[in-house]
């Protein structure tokens, strides 16, 4: 209500006045046409006045009163009014008063109403008010945007001096920082928050990680594939570690280490991402990759509500890889045979299953001048179409919320069923949650949260051998899915094709199921020991029963041909419990000049998993699938295992706010972890942070009209990482059974070489940030710069095999992530019927290897780490092109001939070997831009979510292999540009048969590196919220919204694979590597949300 307006309404109607106000502000007027005659004339000419002033003036002679109900909604009601007093009441009991904020400044525009009535007024420019009370008035309610609503019992008092406290909006918003909350105003660390509405915005998101994509600066969604039900993960401020896990830790309602996959985004109230060391140090050894704090919904203190949110959609393959059709395929075959001086086999002997042949009238084959048959392909199969499907997605959630002053309940059940883009793949998840909270005693609050559910998915990802995703590109188009006689087409049906089963048959008859049942039980008791001191004891227990099933029916080529089908079941039980006990003390000192908060506590974490597997093969009937392992006649060796680790921690935090201008924070945590050596079990992680609210300084006053908020933040601290496998400090034997004359005997061989000195990996992070608010926070700008140095990297280092080992875990060297983050939120247009807001997020990150003992580390897939270079840089030969016919001599130096690939001989020694590899970019993007524009017109809203990513290169192994190894399967269309005498300026070697020495050179070379920049229309959502006027008529429906959503609407990119945003092998070094990854669908869905 601080919006000031200039109104010029001379002899205007009330309606015209209202419109003028609405155009200049966010206020909307609400009245009953029977009571209020908006055609009445008024005259108001004011400058720079608040709504209260304007309306008070306008209603001076009119029988109307106004109340701000909420959200800038002004309710106009008819009152019986004498000329002298604003309201006519039963008793002439007038009260007066003054409203000020906590610093003593008068607050104009505060709505003062008598609770339970519509009688009210607004404070004037000096914060004063005067109100005539009805006889039954008991309580005065003071409300103001950005302030906590105050209620004061009237009693005998006639004069009220009210101090209003700021409320959780804007900079006063509360953020969770672990073991407590803090207002944004008092925040000294770098924390980003996402609200529940944003989390459910993208209806096709599988999980909270996908929901978060593009919502937080410095948080990058790492998608490994588009398979249903997973494959996503996030990285906060780059990759914090090399071999130890780079996953952030997820904390759900205080439960540390929750699997984010089990959380139904529907149940999330807010997500807070802790980014800098000042914030994450509270989680010590587990915090170095950042912390994601998830707060789930609790019951609201209201009359209760039931909400249904349903989404139904369909996903399809929108971006295909440009592979050859039948004509192109035959052209390449023709060239290959011609180059190698051979004749295509189907022109010598008829292959009538694949080709039409020219015949004479009596059915004899016709031959051309060279004596070859005349044939044309029978089929032209689009295998990408054949293998993908219109994937139906279903997502339904029903939730109940209720509460009163003492107790609240929230319960929900959710069902998510997503078909995969690739046929026969799916993901199915059920979740249920109950969150009960009660003030059992004045000194005791208890909260219990139970979440349970199941998640099953069948994904046939990975084309390592001859998987379906691979063969959707490599199946020859001249082969049909099925022949007329019902037999399935295979890759090697035409000469020289690789041996591979029909991919659709494989998908149908093979299962790779991941199946989990999970539950999290969490009990939090808070004891109010005194006004300022709380003690919280928390216990939680997470259990997961996971199964992994591998099944194939009999007779699948290359899969189950010799074993008549097989089934393996791997079972794992995981248990995790923890106990947290901590004190929270908050108080203010020096007559409220200093406000302080302290947390002191300890925790114990325990994790244990046990697993067992069994399997068999040679089934006499496929009927059993994997439900009766005993029906197989050959048993697989059973196995079992156990894994356990523990962490014990002590922590302390204090936050101080001096005069609301100078903020100081300090945390310290000690963590002991079982998976480190005896001398290094404990690690110590301190952090300090400070902030200065410059906008609160007196000297800043002149600028405050424009810049209403300005805060400078600095923090520095150390955080650890302990995410390595267990038992790495102990040398181990691996054991199994060896055969001696057909009988089994036990054996052991050296396994892991233990490193007793193994210790924490430590990240030291400096963060400098600034928060800015312009024009009363109409534009908000947050900027952060960080320098994060990770030392004593936990690294599984390659050692020469002559040591007897392949790798050993060690602490090694230093990597540095630096980056800049910017978040800009702007409400561009704010009018009665139309608003437009923009959220713009920009982040950069650069990961440099600072020190690795001068070594060159092979980070896999032809990437290396070298000091001074970016982590996991591609290290490949530089393909210059092909040797021309005029370069016979030069080519011969390398044993090559015209038409062969020409590599850059970097050291010029006439041999292409390891010394000729060059660092040529890497798979990590340099920057990421997200822009969400939201337009609202009346009840209609349109959201467009764009994502632009730049600076990464993809290693498109799939695409390049499709170009190199032409004859074994289908190729990408670019292969048509291969070297020919008439087309010598080509990057692609002359097409030839595999018998040629330089057939399909498979070197990982620069040809495989593709620009991976892209602009993705990540999401478009159109929603219509039915207005309250309509809903009032159906009085049992509170809210109703319908919408249409397009996920992954389009990608603009030059990358020739399915999707430029890709990662293989689910590892960090696999980012940017495309190895037959599961394509990502475009999903169109409809959404209905209704609250009763």
């Amino acid at each position: 209500q601080t919006t000031k307006m200039d109104i010029k309404a001379e002899n205007s109607t009330l309606r015209e006045l209202f419109i003028q106000i609405e155009e200049q502000s966010q206020y909307r007027f609400f009245y009953n046409n029977d009571d209020v005659d908006v055609n009445q004339k008024v005259s108001v000419i004011v400058e720079n006045k608040t709504i209260g002033d304007i309306l008070n003036q306008a209603f001076t002679d009119l029988p109307y009163a106004f109340t701000e109900v909420n959200n800038n909604l002004i309710l106009i009601e008819k009152v019986n009014k004498n000329a002298s007093s604003p309201t006519v009441v039963q008793q002439q009991n007038t009260v007066t008063g003054k409203v000020t904020d906590s610093s003593g400044q008068p607050l104009p525009g505060v709505t003062v109403i008598v609770k339970g009535t519509t009688v009210g007024t607004v404070t004037n420019g000096d914060g004063n008010f005067s109100l005539t009370l009805p006889g039954d008035a008991e309580i005065l309610q003071f409300s103001f945007v950005g302030m906590k609503t105050e209620e004061i019992v009237i009693g005998d008092k006639t004069n009220f001096n009210v101090t209003m406290e700021t409320d959780a909006i804007g900079i006063e918003e509360v953020v969770a920082i672990g073991y407590g909350t803090i207002t944004k105003r008092d925040l000294t660390a770098s924390v980003s928050s996402i609200e529940s509405e944003e989390i459910v915005e993208r209806t096709a998101a599988f999980n909270v990680m996908e929901s978060m994509a593009g919502k937080v600066a410095g948080v990058r969604n790492v998608s490994f594939s588009g398979k249903p039900g997973g494959g996503s993960s996030i990285r906060i401020r780059g990759m914090g570690s090399i071999n130890a896990d780079s996953e952030p830790i997820y904390v759900m309602d205080g439960v540390v280490g929750v699997d984010p996959q089990i959380i139904n985004p529907e149940n999330v109230e807010s997500i807070d991402v802790l980014k800098d060391a000042a914030a994450t140090a509270m989680y010590g050894a587990q915090g170095s990759n950042g912390v994601v704090i998830i707060t789930t919904k609790t019951g609201k203190n209201d009359e209760g509500s039931v909400t249904y949110n349903g989404k139904v959609g369909v996903g399809f393959l929108n971006r295909k890889v440009d592979v050859l059709d039948a004509e192109g395929f035959m052209e390449i075959q023709k060239r290959a045979y011609a180059y190698s001086g051979k004749v295509m086999p189907h022109l010598q002997n008829p292959m009538e299953n694949l080709f039409y042949y020219s015949k004479d009238a009596s059915g004899n084959f016709l031959r051309d001048d060279n004596g070859y048959l005349i044939a044309s392909p029978k089929y032209d199969t689009d295998w990408q179409d054949a293998i993908t499907q219109n994937a139906i997605t279903n997502n339904h959630a029903l939730s109940f919320s209720s509460g009163n002053e003492k107790t609240s309940v929230y319960a929900s059940i959710g069902f998510q069923d997503y078909q995969g883009l690739v046929k026969y793949t799916y993901s199915e998840r059920f979740t249920g949650t109950v969150n009960v909270q009660s003030d059992i005693k004045e000194w005791l609050n208890v909260q219990a949260v139970v979440t349970a559910g199941s998640h099953e998915r069948n994904d046939m990802e990975g084309g390592f051998g001859q998987g379906p995703v691979r063969n959707m590109l490599e199946m020859p188009p001249i082969v049909p899915v099925k022949y007329e006689d019902g037999t399935w087409g295979r890759k090697n049906d035409y000469s020289l094709g690789e041996t591979a089963e029909n991919p659709i048959l494989l998908l149908r008859e093979q299962k790779k199921i991941w199946d989990e049942n999970f539950s999290v039980f969490n009990l939090i008791t808070t004891l109010k020991l005194s006004e300022n001191l709380n003690f919280t004891a928390k216990g939680d227990m997470q259990t997961t029963n996971a199964r992994n099933i591998n099944y194939a029916s009999a007779g699948l080529l290359d899969v189950s041909e010799t074993n008549n089908g097989y089934a393996d079941i791997y079972n794992q039980i995981r248990r995790r419990w923890s106990n947290e006990d901590y004190f929270t003390y908050s108080n203010s000192f020096f007559s409220d000049l200093l406000k302080s908060q302290f947390v002191l506590g300890a925790s114990w974490y325990y994790y244990r998993s046990e697993s067992a597997s069994a399997g068999s093969e040679d089934y006499f009937d496929d009927y059993f699938e994997y439900y009766n392992l005993g029906a197989g006649t050959t048993y697989h060796q059973p196995s079992s295992g156990m894994n356990q680790n523990t962490i014990n921690s002590f922590y302390f935090r204090m936050n101080h706010s001096f005069n609301d201008k100078y903020l100081l924070g300090f945390t310290f945590r000690a963590d002991g972890a079982s998976n480190f050596g005896d001398n290094n079990k404990y690690g110590y992680f301190p952090s300090a942070s400070a902030a200065w609210r410059i906008s609160e300084e007196n000297f800043f006053e002149p600028a405050k009209r424009v810049v209403n908020n300005m805060k400078l933040r600095v923090s520095y601290g150390a955080v650890g990482n302990a995410s390595i496998p267990n038992y790495r400090t102990i040398s181990s034997y691996s054991n199994n059974t060896a055969v001696f004359n057909k009988t089994l005997q036990p054996y052991v061989v050296l396994g892991n070489l233990g490193n007793e000195d193994l210790k924490w990996e430590t990240s030291k992070q400096l963060n400098v940030g600034m928060d800015l608010g312009f024009y009363n926070n109409r534009i908000e700008l947050l900027m952060d710069y960080y320098y994060k140095s990770t030392q004593d990297l936990l690294f599984s280092k390659q050692v020469p095999y002559l040591t007897g080992y392949s790798n050993t875990w060690t602490n090694l060297g230093e990597i540095v992530n630096t980056g800049f983050e910017l978040t800009l939120s702007s409400r561009n247009v704010v009018q009665r019927n139309f608003t437009w807001s923009t959220d713009f997020i920009f982040s950069t990150n650069k990961l440099i290897v600072e020190d690795i003992n001068g070594e060159t580390i092979d980070t896999g897939n032809n990437t290396i780490a070298r000091e001074g270079e970016e982590w996991a840089s591609y290290f490949v030969f530089n393909r210059l092109g092909t040797w021309g016919l005029d370069e016979v001599k030069e080519a011969a130096v390398y044993g090559k001939k015209p038409g062969d690939i020409k590599y850059e001989d970097v050291d010029g020694d006439g041999v292409i070997n390891d010394n000729d590899r060059k660092i040529m970019g890497n798979g990590l993007p340099k920057g990421d831009v997200n822009m969400v524009n939201t337009f609202r017109y009346k009840g209609l809203s349109l959201m467009v979510d764009l994502n632009y990513r730049y600076g990464a290169k993809n290693m498109g192994i799939s695409v390049t292999m499709l170009e190199n190894r032409q004859i074994y399967g289908n190729s990408v269309a670019s292969v048509l540009d291969a070297w020919r005498p008439e087309n010598q300026n080509s990057m692609i070697a002359a097409v030839r048969l595999p018998s040629d020495v330089y057939f399909g050179e498979n070197e990982k070379d620069s040809r495989m590196l593709y620009d991976a920049d892209f602009l993705r229309i990540r999401n478009i959502a159109l929603t219509y919220n039915l207005g309250s006027q309509i809903l009032n008529k159906v009085n049992f429906v509170k809210k109703l919204a319908i919408g249409i959503n397009v996920e992954n609407a389009h990608v603009f990119s030059s990358y020739p694979g399915f999707d430029p945003e890709i990662g293989a092998f689910s590892t960090d070094t696999g980012q940017g590597i495309d190895f037959y990854s599961y394509p990502r669908p475009t999903t169109v869905s409809a959404n209905l949300k209704v609250t009763f």
Partner: protein, 488 residues
């Protein structure tokens, strides 16, 4: 809290607390055998097991299934690069086996007689020395100079070990084998269990001496004599004999006996062998001949090599070492013509029905011993010999295949080498024979000729063996981790 953070791994034992019982020692020695299995582990391509790699190098076998696996094609094209998967795998397996030997040797040393009797301990100890020698012998033949590492790894700072001379490596091999020989002095010659026994030690000694006498050390007569002595000792033991037919070679009951001095132990269910299916015809016949189908075509004799056998040689009789036709699996009455010869030597009748082969694979054979005896004597005697013992040994092998042929009066080295090409074919020995003799068998002329300059049937035309083809490059991974691995 300290108790809370203790680790107690229940799923593995630690070498730091080991060698506490005979069963533990036994398990550690058993572990050494498992490194032999790695030659049966495949890469991502069908029929790409490591043992095949060594069969493509000599070039007398072909690969009917033309795979797309570059690393394998490098052997076929004699164009092996330093990042080849196979040479890395071979290097890895051998050095890991050696490290396990070093670790067991250290561990066994101080074990008290209360835990294990001296006899038992010496026997096991002998096996360990044998294995260290065996692994170094393979390494030095394939890579030349290699680092000689004789104690177990304690500290990973000692990773940059220097190359030892070929001479030094052979000295160590000889020393280890002689130690094994003396430790096993009371041991039996053969082991039905499939373990290393005295016969295997002496056979390997003979082979080591024969190799030392030849390339690259060329120690000459003195070492031919040593090879001859060791081979004679094996013959004199009377524990080994040639089976009277090639069918008997394939009889499962004969594994680990007779001419099989030492074999890789396989078992159909838990430790299957890929050999039977690798060598099936490709493309698979319309009427399958084996339930193991569809994986065939990894190795078949080059037609010219097959044709080089003497007419009537029983090894080229149907179902001798080769076959060109076979009964259909479902209908024994139907004879399936395979269109070309394939290898029958490793045919597993049981696997042809069940699909899973558990046939052992020969590592050291008596035929090899007999031919080594004959060859070394011929060398001692200046290129040919009339020594009866040598001629008898040669003739035992020769006459099994050609019973009508008379016993020669004079035997030349080349006669023996030729017989080795024919007899010990596709058993992983031919390439090593060629390396130590630098001789090849010209399939067209039927003569033993210089290897350098000859193009084997498999290799690309115009790509004869060159001096640089004789050694593998050091694996790229190892070179990066240990800069000492350079060859001048």
């Amino acid at each position: 809290c300290e108790k809370f953070l203790e680790e107690e791994p229940k799923t593995f034992l630690s070498p730091d607390f080991y060698f506490q019982s005979e069963a533990q020692i036994n398990a550690a020695v058993n572990g050494l055998y498992t490194f032999l299995d790695n030659r049966f582990s495949g890469m991502i391509e069908l029929g790409s097991q490591t043992y095949l790699f060594l069969e493509y190098l000599p070039g007398y076998g072909v690969r009917p299934y033309s795979g797309s696996f570059d690393a394998l094609n490098q052997a076929i094209n004699l164009n092996i690069k330093e990042d080849n998967n196979y040479i890395e795998a071979i290097w890895e397996t051998h050095y890991k086996a050696i490290e396990n030997c070093n670790s067991v040797l250290g561990g066994i040393q101080g074990v008290s007689p209360e835990i294990i009797s001296d006899d038992r301990k010496n026997k096991l100890w002998g096996e360990v020395y044998f294995f260290r020698a065996y692994n170094y012998f393979n390494l030095v033949r394939l890579f030349g100079e290699v680092p000689l590492k004789l104690s177990s790894t304690k500290n990973l700072s000692e990773v940059e070990q220097e190359l030892s001379s070929i001479d030094a490596v052979y000295s160590q091999i000889e020393k280890d084998l002689l130690t094994a020989d003396s430790l096993m002095v009371n041991n039996s010659w053969a082991s039905v269990e499939g373990r290393v026994a005295k016969g295997a030690v002496k056979t390997l000694l003979a082979k080591v001496y024969l190799t030392m006498a030849g390339y690259p050390l060329q120690k000459g007569t003195e070492y031919y004599q040593k090879a001859f002595d060791q081979a004679r000792a094996v013959v004199a033991s009377n524990q080994f004999y040639l089976f009277d037919s090639y069918a008997a070679q394939r009889n499962p009951a004969n594994e680990n006996t007779g001419e099989y001095i030492w074999m890789i132990q396989r078992q159909s269910q838990y430790a299957g062998s890929p050999v039977h299916s690798n060598m099936l015809p490709y493309p698979e016949p319309e009427d399958p001949i084996s339930a193991a189908g569809a994986y065939g075509g990894a190795l078949a004799p080059a037609q010219a090599f097959y044709d080089s056998y003497a007419e009537g040689d029983k090894r080229t009789e149907e179902k001798g070492y080769y076959y060109t036709q076979h009964e259909a699996l479902d209908d024994p009455g139907t004879i399936v013509d395979l269109g070309r010869p394939y290898i029958y030597k490793f045919w597993d009748e049981a696997a042809s029905v069940s699909g899973n082969s558990g046939r052992n694979y020969p590592l050291l054979t008596y035929a090899d011993v007999l031919l080594m005896l004959a060859e070394s004597k011929a060398q001692i005697d200046g290129g040919s010999t009339n020594n009866a013992e040598a001629i008898d040994a040669y003739y035992a092998v020769r006459s099994r295949a050609n019973p009508d042929e008379g016993k020669p009066n004079l035997l030349s080295v080349n006669d023996v080498l030729k017989e080795r090409f024919w007899e010990i074919c596709f058993e992983g020995q031919t390439w090593f024979d060629m390396l130590r003799t630098k001789k090849a068998f010209n399939v067209t002329t039927g003569e033993i000729i210089n290897m350098i300059g000859y193009t084997s049937p498999l290799h690309p035309e115009g790509h004869p063996f060159e001096e640089e083809d004789l050694l593998f490059p050091y694996p790229l991974r190892e070179k990066r981790l240990n800069p000492n691995l350079t060859r001048n």
